[in-house]
């Protein structure tokens, strides 16, 4: 008999967006058709006017010791703590963000210890301010961060590692991000129109949301988190899959965890950024997942794309839709502009809603899907019998040396660029793409070449779970220097300003389509990442995973990755 897996309830939620503070206030606003998007003429953000959503500073909690990003996060965490009354001594905290305190990146050089831009330290300041005593977990996984964080939290709770966790997603609107997306030509100058034939790009936004996840039924508020899964396209680091299959796989795996069929799903809240390629891919994926006959909505026309906050904001509003039996519309949708027909919910309406699938996709080729259900219909998540794990191989790269299982297999002198190029040539597996990568990706790529040498992989059953301290700060500094010269960002630089892209590069090279998760840590603690890897393996989706640490900032670099296998 399978062991009893705890039910994960979604408890109190809070949010802070251009439409106000509080989940109820935001839900009321969007039901009435309001949008937080407006023309923003701010030369500190962009040379030309921008359609975007911004949070009113007056709504932020008063905390002079915190940065604005940290206040965005702390405001909603405090709101959830107050609303739920959950104990601060044992509750876990996951901070999901793409760029954290990037607004505090100095004008030149690499950030030094103590700079606010290190994400794990920012997360610790938020936890300290909120009186949370457990060590926070930070996740930076591009645009799927918020959905990923909910999946990861629900797994940690089911594994009994935490009874309750607060997931907070937050990101700030900055010139750093605006110039980058502008360089990708993916910004629309009008309000975005997901799935519509006339859609012409996304709008950026900022905000935060916090969600309490708990196995304590007394803290639940009528909604349960069922299955969740993360996949990678292994196709391209910025463009989504051409087939939609990996997102469809994430949806299918998530639904399979509680034995769901398409008919069990009341609606899909998709990513729906309104870029040509994202929406096209999603339509294919939703069709492949058998959900073409299920209503789909996107909440981007209300808030824009709030990056690391979007998944958390949208999950909180999915719960409101389920609770109130109110399916939100997708303003601006008129005519289908995606290759696979979708039942896009254009206008809001009352409907009997019992379960939804929430998806997100992002740079690095990552996809995530999670299922939320009304408590009255929720089904338990069943996990397969656990299988022991063993470490098949470990690769370390530091100080100009590559070690495989502790033995030196390569060494070269010189700066990192010279060393890693020599290591790549030593492997003798030419790949023109290598030279286009940033240094963090080159480090991870070469490490994975040594780690996977001669190893047979099953693409969909292989995962990558990495951590580092500096996220993508090395490339962040390069992007900062480009946009200091002119308003035009270099797409080939900006695309690497997300740490999870290193996993995307490894996935493309080795055709890996399993989970990708990237954690930011203050100091590397192997036991902590192994603890998560075990809960990931416990889902039964994977039989191999690359797990470890991949850090690079200037000339300081260190990689230690292991190949874990189920026996």
């Amino acid at each position: 008999m399978a062991p009893q897996v705890p039910i994960v309830y979604l408890g109190a939620t809070a949010m802070l967006t251009a439409l106000g503070r509080g989940t109820a206030a935001n839900f009321e606003a969007v039901v009435s058709g309001a949008s937080g998007l407006a023309a923003v003429a701010d030369t500190a953000l962009s040379g030309s006017p921008l359609m975007a959503s911004r949070v009113d500073d007056a709504l932020l909690i008063d905390a002079p010791q915190l940065t604005r990003f940290e206040r965005l996060a702390a405001t909603v965490v405090i709101d959830v703590l107050r609303r739920s009354g959950v104990g601060r001594s044992r509750v876990g905290l996951i901070v999901s963000t793409t760029k954290g305190n990037i607004a505090s990146l100095g004008g030149s050089g690499m950030p030094e210890a103590g700079s606010p831009v290190f994400i794990a330290e920012a997360a610790q300041r938020v936890a300290d301010f909120c009186g949370i005593e457990t060590k926070p977990i930070s996740l930076s996984n591009a645009c799927i961060s918020g959905v990923s964080a909910v999946i990861i939290a629900s797994r940690l709770i089911r594994a009994g590692i935490f009874e309750s966790m607060i997931v907070v997603g937050a990101d700030e609107l900055t010139r750093f991000v605006v110039t980058g997306f502008d360089g990708f030509k993916s910004l629309s100058h009008s309000r975005c129109r997901p799935y519509d034939a006339a859609r012409d790009g996304l709008n950026l936004g900022e905000g935060s949301a916090a969600l309490l996840l708990t196995s304590d039924a007394a803290l639940g508020e009528g909604i349960v988190v069922e299955g969740g899964a993360i996949t990678d396209d292994a196709n391209h680091i910025s463009g989504p899959s051409r087939t939609g299959q990996p997102l469809a796989d994430a949806i299918g795996l998530a639904m399979s965890q509680s034995g769901l069929w398409p008919g069990d799903v009341s609606f899909v809240n998709a990513h729906g950024t309104a870029t040509a390629y994202n929406d096209e891919m999603e339509s294919k994926a939703i069709g492949l997942a058998g959900l073409a006959g299920v209503p789909v909505n996107s909440l981007k026309p209300y808030f824009g794309h709030t990056l690391g906050a979007s998944g958390a904001i949208e999950i909180a509003l999915c719960a409101e839709q389920l609770r109130h039996g109110l399916l939100l519309g997708t303003p601006g949708y008129e005519a289908c502009g995606v290759p696979e027909p979708l039942m896009v919910s254009a206008a809001g309406r009352r409907a009997a809603l019992s379960r939804c699938v929430k998806t997100a996709s992002g740079f690095g080729g990552c996809n995530a899907a999670v299922v939320l259900a009304a408590e009255s219909v929720a089904r338990p998540v069943s996990l397969p019998p656990s299988r022991p794990l063993h470490t098949a191989r470990t690769v370390e790269i530091a100080h100009g040396e590559v070690l495989v299982d502790g033995s030196r297999v390569f060494g070269a002198d010189g700066c990192f660029a010279d060393f890693i190029r020599a290591a790549f040539r030593h492997l003798d597996r030419p790949n023109m793409k290598f030279f286009k990568m940033d240094n963090l990706c080159k480090l991870g790529y070469v490490g994975a070449e040594f780690l996977l040498d001669g190893v047979g992989l099953r693409p969909g059953r292989t995962a990558i779970v990495l951590a580092n301290r500096s996220a993508s700060l090395d490339s962040d500094c390069r992007h900062r220097d480009v946009i200091a010269q002119s308003d035009s960002a270099s797409p080939a630089v900006f695309v690497y300003t997300l740490p999870n892209v290193v996993m995307g590069e490894i996935c493309i090279r080795h055709k890996i389509t399993g989970e990708n998760s990237f954690f930011i840590v203050h100091e590397y603690d192997e036991n902590r990442i192994l603890q998560y890897a075990r809960t990931m393996f416990a889902q039964g989706f994977h039989d191999k995973a690359i797990v470890g640490f991949c850090e690079l900032l200037g000339e300081d670099y260190r990689l230690r990755i292991s190949l874990l296998e189920t026996k």
Binding site: G183, K185, I237, K436, S488, P491, A492
Partner: protein
């Protein structure tokens, strides 16, 4: 035209970090994307940026650049016609 092609090749090599490629390695008439040089959509955006910065040519919609970016020769012909 020949000089323009050479300049464009060098600008593309520099912008895209095509470390192991020299201008002579790029065939003037071979496809730039997919096969041939194997460039992708990010590279296309970088080339659009080169046109903007070096030749004063603005292309608003990246998809409009598709026929222009077929080969080095089509690119050079377009630049010749439209440069400011």
């Amino acid at each position: 035209m020949e000089e323009l092609i050479q300049n464009l090749k060098q600008q593309i090599i520099d912008a895209l970090n095509l470390e192991e490629i020299t201008p002579a390695d790029i065939d003037d008439d071979a496809p730039l994307f997919g096969e041939g040089l194997g460039l992708d959509s990010i590279d296309a955006l970088e080339i659009i940026l080169i046109l903007e910065k070096e030749y004063g040519i603005r292309i608003a919609k990246p998809s409009d650049a598709k026929p222009i970016l077929k080969s080095m020769r089509t690119l050079a012909e377009y630049v010749e016609k439209n440069r400011k």
